[in-house]
Amino acid sequence: MAKYESPDFFNLDELLSEDDRNVRDTVRDFVDDNVMPIIEDCYEKGEFPKAIIPKLGELGVLGANLPEEFGCAGMNNVAYGLINQELERGDSGVRSFASVQSALVMYPIYAYGSDDQKKKWLPELAAARIIGCFGLTEPDFGSNPSGMITRAKKDGKEWVLNGAKMWITNGNLSDIGVVWAKTGDSDDPKSIRGFVVEKGMPGYDVREQKKKLSLRASNTSELFFTDVRVPEENMLPKAEGLKGPLGCLTQARFGIAWGALGAAMACYDTAKNYAAERIVFGKPLSAHQTTQHKLQKMLTEITKGQLMAWRLAKLKDEGKMTHFQVSMSKMNNVGIALEIARVAREMLGANGIMLEYHVARHMANLESVKTYEGTNDVHSLAIGQYITGHSAFA
């Protein structure tokens, strides 16, 4: 297949610094060398490509926008966004791995952790010497995490955790988990606190969720807590209530808004090249009117998404980004990516269903990406509330 080329219809490269472009090209080469050759196989087997974990650490993409004093690269958010874009061009599962580690494990430790916690965990996580997961969702509470059942009760200098989490990315690969639990009554979401639970703590069990049809090259697990005794120093001191986990989700959704564009661009590139070569009814597929309509729609949506992501990153760098803007960007960019993947799949005819052409893999992956980190319904309700002042969640 032709070498991947990302579209840049609005000369967005001119908005990127030389370093940003350098970061993007470096991660793109990394994906070409380390992800593309193995991803079909991993996807078919339903395995995360574990071999790339230390390489991601070496590359320095984990928590790349966190400060250097914790072993991170201290990058701006455009560069961080581009990292996500390039990883997801490879596979949403690879980007998910990095997102969870960066935004859902490193970020909460950085933002809500004590100095000791930061020093202990962040450099190890940045180097991928330890892997983390993020446990918020439960079997009965996904879109509405405030209903969570998992509880933590203080007993001397320890917290005793009971409950279960489900759909947890990296669960089975993880050395630590940032787990959210109520410390007060079951109807008191203000009592939600974050705990760093370590693999091997008695009563902590993890079971991989198999037979997925989406994000097959990502590890998804259930976490079980039966009287798990977590030392006091493993509680994140600066997160109280749902604001804690939601603050992490804002970080992760930012990365997804960029990441989804990578998947969209991969599908567009494949469809464009395929249509140029495939002859139907005596001429290239790309010379047919309906095909051109499909391709222009893809390019238009990608271009809009790129502009949105770029502006979002600039606002984030300036400390002005709102979670509503993140909601809109995540919702829009995942939505268009999924639609582009579906149309690309269609344009490739029967070949479109083969792993070899990647588009069906992206398409199936994006169904998960649309659901996790706030479904489109949830984001549209958030933006609806912003516009009207009425909460229509419940």
């Binding site: 370093d19 350098n22 970061v23 470096t26 080469d29 590359l59 320095g60 250097e68 690269a73 560069a79």
Partner: protein, 249 residues
């Protein structure tokens, strides 16, 4: 150890080179540049030497100010300091070697590493010229290198795929070939370090070119292939033509 690595900014190997309107240079529009491929093996060798023996790697590049990008990439890969000898023209090996040698006279060096050949100019001579100008021993086309006790043991690729082994005293010049190592990519911390590194710029002290380009022209287009027939019937004719006309069997 003081290690110097000389790198060139060159079109990427997939660039489509077209002669410019003056018929002497190539058309720069639409061309992407990178560190000339073999220079990356030299950079990797330099970084490995530093990692093993401690010391400092200085990148030296003669080129236009735009070459700052390639110099920074070398820093991002792990080099420590960088100098750009600014010269905006496309210079020949002699001018380049002279400018590099002039600078190296006052730049400490235990070993000076080059790519064995540039991917654009392809004269495969700059490294050796620098060695001669500085009066240093040199080995070209190195595919393995061990440095210890002020000397280097180097294997080079010779004609016919043979390998020759040399022992040379440092300081020396070595030009590097694919196979010497597998070069690393820059990582995120490297890119951030490169951003902060000041690239020293001085005008290149280069003499006039020794080579004059009279005309640059693309090779003639390849003639169309010939279809000699279809199926098994065509085999005899194909064999006859390969033997009598093409004379390859």
């Amino acid at each position: 150890m003081e290690i110097v690595v000389c790198i060139r900014r060159a079109p990427t190997t997939d660039a489509r080179i077209k002669p410019a309107a003056d018929g002497k240079n190539y058309e720069p529009a639409g061309i992407n540049y990178d560190i000339s491929e073999y220079d990356k093996f030299a950079i990797e060798a330099a970084i490995q030497l530093k990692e093993k023996h401690t010391g400092k790697v200085t990148v030296l590049c003669m080129g236009s100010k735009e070459a700052t990008k390639e110099v920074r990439t070398a820093i991002a890969m792990g080099c420590d300091a960088a100098e750009l000898l600014v010269d905006e023209a496309f210079r020949d090996s002699w001018a380049t070697a002279s400018a590099l040698a002039a600078r190296l006279k006052s730049l400490p060096h235990d070993i000076v590493l080059f790519g064995w050949n540039s991917v654009d100019n392809q004269s495969a001579s700059t490294g050796q010229m620098v060695a001669e100008l500085l009066g240093l021993p040199s080995v070209s086309v190195a595919v393995s290198m061990e440095v210890a006790d002020g000397a280097a043991q180097i294997e080079r690729l010779a004609a016919g795929g043979k390998r020759e082994k040399y022992y040379i005293k440092l300081p020396a010049v070595v030009t590097c070939q694919k196979g010497l190592n597998k070069y690393r990519s820059p990582n995120m911390k490297g890119i951030m370090a490169a951003k902060k590194t000041v690239v020293a710029e001085t005008p290149a002290n280069a003499p006039a070119d020794g080579v004059a380009v009279l005309r640059l022209q693309p090779p003639p287009p390849r003639a169309d292939g010939k279809i000699v027939g279809k199926g098994a019937d065509a085999v005899n004719e194909l064999v006859r033509l390969l033997r009598e006309e093409a004379k390859v069997i």
